[in-house]
Amino acid sequence: MRPTTSSAASTGRHWRAVDGATAVTTTPLDPENWSCPVPLRDHPTIVMGHGGGGRLGAELIEHLFLPAFGGTGSILAQLGDAAVVQAGAARLAFSTDSFVVRPRFFPGGNLGDLAVNGTVNDVAMTGAVPLFLSAGFVLEEGLALDELGILAQTMGAAARRAGVEVVAGDTKVVDAGHGDGAYITTAGVGLIAPGVDLGPHRVQPDDVVLVSGPIGLHGIAVLSVRDGFEFGSEILSDTAPLNGLVAALLAAGVDVHMMRDPTRGGVAAILNEIAASSDTGVEIVERSVPVPEPVSAACSLLGLDPLEVANEGRLVAFVGRDDADHALEVLRSDPLGVGATAIGQVVAEHAGVVVARTGIGGTRVVDFPLSEQLPRIC
């Protein structure tokens, strides 16, 4: 359904926000200056790819949202998983995320797990201790109360496990046929201790790239129960709160420079984002990347790249070379980091580009995924 406030359909070039009785005219969109968005020029509507965690989504943020909310110098423009803001004497990390996964129940978890862990993790990636969450529910008329009950219980349990408290919430109901069951939006806030300073500005050539465990589990778990692609598998989503791992690393004094959790778009998206924002090159060794055999098989079957598959309980960390072994030791002593391993390094060459040494010793560029992955036959 097209948003009723948009006049994009008729004019194709300008978008005006209409606020009740007063028409508020904003700066017209100038798609000509986007990086050649042929599909968008001809079809000025949202497509599924905008939500895929890849290049399309990044463009939407850069050209539509940023200009509206603050422009290039703003805190938002830093585009971290969470915003780091100063509030009086305290440094806070603040993040929000919406959860729309379908089906809502999948092997290893449900929408409620993602809604809590996803925001806890975004906040934790800044090095903050996550403290409080809010939870907004958009519910479709007709949703079974039993199901909602399970989602809520799941969220409560996940919050307790992560050591955070849900302190605010909201519920809205939309007409049947207009809401796809349930959407959950959570926002989270955490406190960053003095001296903790993570971010792309700290990433340097020679840094080691670590991943906290095997990749691809969540994306494949969800795909295994999705219409049109069902397959039998034992794979469970890896959804989990990562703030414990983060706290352990910081408490042990590990020289962590930056961390991200590779959700939509997978490890490939994260590495590309970090390479771009830190203006360095990243090189990984494919044989070092831990991909469980069933994940690899599912990817082969469907023509997917494990590096682009979503994870919900893994972190990628950039650490100082001298501290890499120490970091791995700390990660591996936590149940959530048992499979932690080094997968590559940061280099000065080919800034902004992620390159992989392939299994047989060749080279390939790991590109920023364009949008959502489409299973292929070729």
């Binding site: 295994s224 397959f231 039998g232 598998s233 034992e234 794979i235 055999e293 069933p294 690899s296 098989a297 599912a298 082969s300 079957l301 023509g303 292929r376 036959i377 070729c378």
Partner: protein, 82 residues
């Protein structure tokens, strides 16, 4: 074109007059159609393309091919060109 993946036939049955199977790919199981490989039985490996088995994989042949690859490498060592 032709994304065909090898998998092991675990179970065979008939549905609506068509021979079907559950094929295992290292822990992933998919229902596929065996109509084109009437001689494939449980335990065999097949190439699966868009849900259809196209051929039985011949193990002896595969081992022979791998041996040939090994030879190609060895030859270079013998000649001192590796």
């Amino acid at each position: 074109m032709c994304l065909g993946i090898p998998g092991r036939v675990e179970e065979v049955w008939e549905a609506d007059g068509t021979r079907m199977a559950t094929v295992d790919f290292s822990g992933i199981r998919k229902e596929v159609c065996l109509a084109y490989v009437p001689d494939v039985v449980v335990g065999d490996y097949t190439i699966i393309h868009v849900g259809f088995a196209l051929t039985r994989l011949d193990e002896a042949s595969a081992l022979e091919t791998l041996a040939l690859f090994r030879e190609a490498g060895l030859l270079d060592q013998e000649l001192g060109t590796a």
